[in-house]
């Protein structure tokens, strides 16, 4: 057996193979040596030869990739297949189950997978070199693929300056030329990038803890890639927390299962206010009824032109059973009087009809109703407003504004101007009177009160 020495490139292999074919050297008679393996056999020189061999295009395509494979056996295998193709088995690549064809395709597949993984897992880091922005990546391919894969990155990042470093070979693109240099060590690559934290945030958030399936992840992203993937650092923690997160979701949901039934069900449409009020008295659509004394429904004449919507009843309202009769009601009364609005001709109601509270010491402390509470109670408010068809509708505070507009609506940005809502063409947003009571000092309080009265004056203009 003789040894054929050649440069381990596709071009060199092709020339050497052509010479070997024309010298009629059978695969068993020669050993291919790219200088990497131990050299057992006598070297042999071949004359260069320009004889053209007609081989299927498919073979050349596969061969170009297979030469990138890291296995030593690739040269012998390539020549063996070439020999058989040129010696009576031109269709050999179509016999996928042939032992040599199968081996060749297996190598080809491994290289293609490596190429694909490089396109997926290269992570550029942004650095500034001589006042120019460069994007530099470190990658550890299984096979010699940096060169054949570089054009993909040129297509994609043609207007960036970038380098992909590896232990074998490095590729560089300066927006014009693609160049290759010798391999370097990992320490040459930059070790951080300002966007990586955001990327990790995204990666961690997009993970669904209820669907843990690590085998599927590992099949496509084996651990060997992890040390060069900035997001992989998050994996252990994500896996550790997943069971807890799912358990919490279930616990929360079980608790709610107990509590929540859904939305209030308003009885048939042609009701008057009085029967609505009676129906609402027995409402158990949300859990708030359990801790409240009674449903506090709206109050006022059906003919009212002006409807005030507040947040929810407070401690006194809950005990008395009428809206706006506590301290906030007193502020409202005074302000209405000052603005010239007659309360007896208005309808006054709340977004949520039960008092929501938590116990602090011996006091029942007001708790702001959340989106679900508002949603559950909305049918009552809608039914009231449908009957009343108010000319003017006033939202007191953000809960009322959210309930009336059906979306988060800022009070301070929108107060004091007429807006159109589903329930009235002239809808006004202002603060809740209780916010005036909470003012930091008398001066602030006076100003807040004055602004409130000013808003209400719009109703009598």
């Amino acid at each position: 057996m003789k040894r054929l020495d050649f440069e381990p490139t596709f071009k060199c292999w092709r020339e050497t193979a052509r010479a070997a074919l024309s010298a009629e050297l059978s695969p068993e008679a020669i050993s291919w040596s790219d200088g990497e393996a131990t050299q057992l056999f006598e070297p042999m020189a071949l004359e260069s030869n320009q004889t053209r061999y007609n081989v299927p295009k498919r073979f050349m395509e596969v061969a170009e990739r297979v030469v990138c494979h890291r296995s030593q056996g690739r040269w012998d295998l390539l020549y063996k297949v070439l020999w058989r193709i040129t010696h009576g088995e031109r269709h050999l690549l179509e016999v996928f189950s042939d032992v040599d064809t199968a081996a060749l395709y297996k190598m080809d597949k491994e290289v293609r997978r490596d190429v694909h993984k490089m396109r997926a897992f290269v992570r550029f880091r942004h650095v500034v070199q001589e006042e120019e922005a460069w994007y530099v990546a470190w990658f550890e391919p299984d096979h010699h693929i940096i060169r054949i894969n570089a054009p993909f990155f040129v297509d994609r990042f043609a207007q960036m300056r970038w380098s992909i470093l590896s232990a074998d070979e490095c590729a560089h693109w300066d927006q014009r030329h693609l160049t290759f240099t010798d391999g370097v060590r990992r320490e040459h690559a930059p070790n951080r990038d300002e966007v990586e934290e955001l990327w990790r945030t995204y990666y961690s958030t997009i993970f669904n803890p209820a669907r843990v399936k690590t085998s599927a992840m590992l099949a496509e992203m084996p651990k060997k890639y992890w040390r060069n993937l900035p997001e992989a650092r998050a994996i252990p923690e994500l896996l550790e927390q997943a069971p807890k997160r799912v358990e919490n979701m279930i616990k929360a949901s079980d608790a709610k299962q107990e509590a929540e039934i859904g939305k209030a069900v308003v009885p048939a449409a042609d009701l008057d206010l009085e029967s609505l009020k009676k129906a609402a008295a027995g409402c158990e659509a949300c859990p708030l009824y359990r801790n409240a004394t009674q449903t506090v429904f709206g109050e006022g004449p059906l003919q009212a032109d002006i409807v005030f919507v507040g947040e929810q009843p407070g401690d006194q309202e809950d005990r008395i059973g009428r809206p706006f009769v506590g301290p906030a009601g007193a502020v409202l009364d005074r302000a209405m009087m000052e603005a010239g609005v007659v309360r007896a001709r208005c309808y006054v109601t709340n977004s949520v009809k039960h008092f929501k509270w938590e116990l602090r010491g011996k006091r029942r402390l007001h708790q702001t109703p959340n989106a679900r509470d508002i949603e559950a109670c909305r049918p009552w408010l809608e039914a009231e407003l449908r009957l009343l068809k108010p000319q003017y509708l006033v939202c007191l505070g953000s809960t009322a504004a959210n309930a009336v507009f059906g979306r988060p609506t800022k009070v301070l940005q929108n107060r004091g101007k007429w807006m159109e809502s589903l329930y009235s063409k002239q809808t006004l947003i202002t603060v809740h009177p209780s916010s005036i009571l909470r003012a930091r000092d008398p001066e602030q309080q006076e100003k807040a009160y004055g602004d409130f009265v000013n808003d209400l004056r719009l109703l009598v203009r």
Binding site: E94, F96, S97, D98, V99, A102, H116, A120, F121, R123, F124, R125, H126, Y135, D155, R156, F157, A158, Q159, M160, D193, V195, E196, T201, Y202, Y203, S204, T205, I206, F207, N208, P209, A210, R211, K213, T214, A216, M217, E220, M221, E231, L238, P243, V246, E247, M249, I250, S253, K256, Q257, A259, E260, I261, A371, R372, I374, E375, A376, G406, R407
Partner: protein, 420 residues
């Protein structure tokens, strides 16, 4: 709120959309300017521990929403934290991630704020900015709002590679119960409109106009939020493929969400069922099976223990065994253990030699799986009475169990068995 906090809210809100495909679009590169490329096949840039690929930056423009769809984490009545990206924040985040090779592009969706047109305008503006101002050649998938005006949907299709509208639930009844603001016929009309645009732009494309959603349209159905059986789901999917020329129907196992509505089951997501639906979907699209061969009114659900192809073969023993050296392509495709690629290869090999078991082995085919169904040069399977017993012995279907303890009341701790 800083960008990281917004990102975690708005990516969390988007993760229940299964689609992450970045394939099937036109080829583009940035050699003449801009940034990005597409090759026709997608790239998965990462994988999360749930085994799903990360190909696109999948986010919501905002998770504020005026709708109240019960299965959705972003519904109006949900207590999740809310956030809203500015248009530029989304554009810059996409470019920053893309430059570092984290992603293939953007999948943008949104909660409905103010009204459908207002929302859609902003979604379209993100895509326009990326394409027109940054020369972005990467992949863009826009979730379309069926209630938005057709002019806006048309614009979306001009900037995006793919547009999608989720049908979410397979029947009108499901939809009216769980998503009161949605309406199946309106969704279907919007899909039909998109199909019309894709077809007509393709027809006039010879005049080198801009392509309209070159990667086509797709949709998603949630599985397991209602008791609707597989047959309704697959029949609906088949019709959508047929009438709307959809590229993909995604099936998403209903998964517990934070602050879930109490009217929904809190179970481990029916992942096996989801998997079986995908298998059935594949059989319908690439193996010429009809939906009614896999599920029908007398057998409304796919078997959870056996994949649908094997199930069909076991229930149709008179079709087997088939001779690998003479059977036509459509028959070979029905052999459990043979995929499209191997069938194509076997047909080529057959031109040159008679096929034996060793050939199958070298192709990487599992002999154990195929041997009961195939006659080869050196193999003849024993008579197939055992098909019957295989069918009868299989365990009780898990499918029923999934609903036995609906909606989530279970004493034996079987919920989320893998959570421990």
């Amino acid at each position: 709120m800083n960008l990281g906090a917004k990102l975690s809210i708005l990516a969390d809100a988007a993760k229940y959309d299964a689609s992450c495909a970045s394939s099937g679009t036109s080829r583009r590169d940035s050699r003449a300017g801009g940034i990005g490329s597409t090759t026709g096949s997608g790239i998965c840039h990462s994988y999360t521990p749930d085994g799903r690929c990360v190909s696109l930056l999948k986010i919501l423009l905002t998770n504020f929403c005026v709708y109240d769809c019960l299965y959705c984490i972003n519904r109006r009545s949900s207590n999740v934290r809310r956030a809203r990206f500015t248009i530029d924040e989304v554009v810059n985040l996409t470019i920053d991630f893309y430059r570092r090779n984290y992603i293939e592009g953007l999948f943008l969706s949104s909660g409905i704020i103010h009204n459908p047109d207002y929302t859609m305008e902003r979604v379209v503006e993100v895509a326009r900015k990326l394409r027109a101002e940054h020369g972005f050649k990467g992949y863009i998938h826009l979730k379309t709002i069926p209630e938005a005006s057709s002019e806006l949907i048309d614009q979306a299709g001009l900037w995006a590679d793919r547009i999608s509208i989720n049908v979410e639930l397979p029947t009108e009844t499901d939809l009216s119960v769980l998503a009161p603001e949605k309406n199946l016929s309106r969704i279907e009309k919007a899909m039909a409109h998109i199909r019309g645009r894709i077809d007509s732009v393709k027809a006039e494309k010879k005049s080198k106009g801009r392509a309209f959603a070159p990667a086509g349209q797709s949709t998603q159905m949630i599985v397991g939020a209602t008791s609707t059986p597989d047959v309704d789901i697959l029949v609906r999917a088949t019709n959508l493929y047929l009438t709307k020329s959809l590229k993909r129907v995604y099936y998403s196992a209903f998964s517990p969400i934070p602050d879930a509505s109490a009217r929904l089951p809190v179970l481990r997501p029916p992942l096996v069922r989801e998997h079986r639906l995908y298998q059935a979907d594949w059989l319908i699209r690439f193996y010429n099976y009809k939906a009614e061969e896999l599920v029908n009114s007398s057998r409304p659900n796919l078997d959870l223990n056996i994949d649908p192809k094997l199930y069909w073969a076991l229930s149709n023993p008179d079709h087997f065994p088939v001779d690998i050296n003479s059977a036509p392509r459509e028959i070979l495709l029905r052999v459990p253990g043979l995929g499209v690629r191997n069938v194509n290869r076997l047909l080529v090999i057959r031109r040159w030699k008679r096929i034996g078991m060793l050939d199958l082995k070298r192709l990487g085919i599992s002999l154990k799986k195929v041997s009961p169904f195939l006659i080869t040069l050196d193999h003849l399977p024993p008579r197939s009475e055992r098909f019957e017993s295989l069918l009868n012995n299989r365990e009780k279907s898990l499918q029923q169990e999934l609903f036995d303890d609906w909606p989530g009341k279970s004493d034996n701790g079987t919920k989320f068995p893998y959570a421990g």
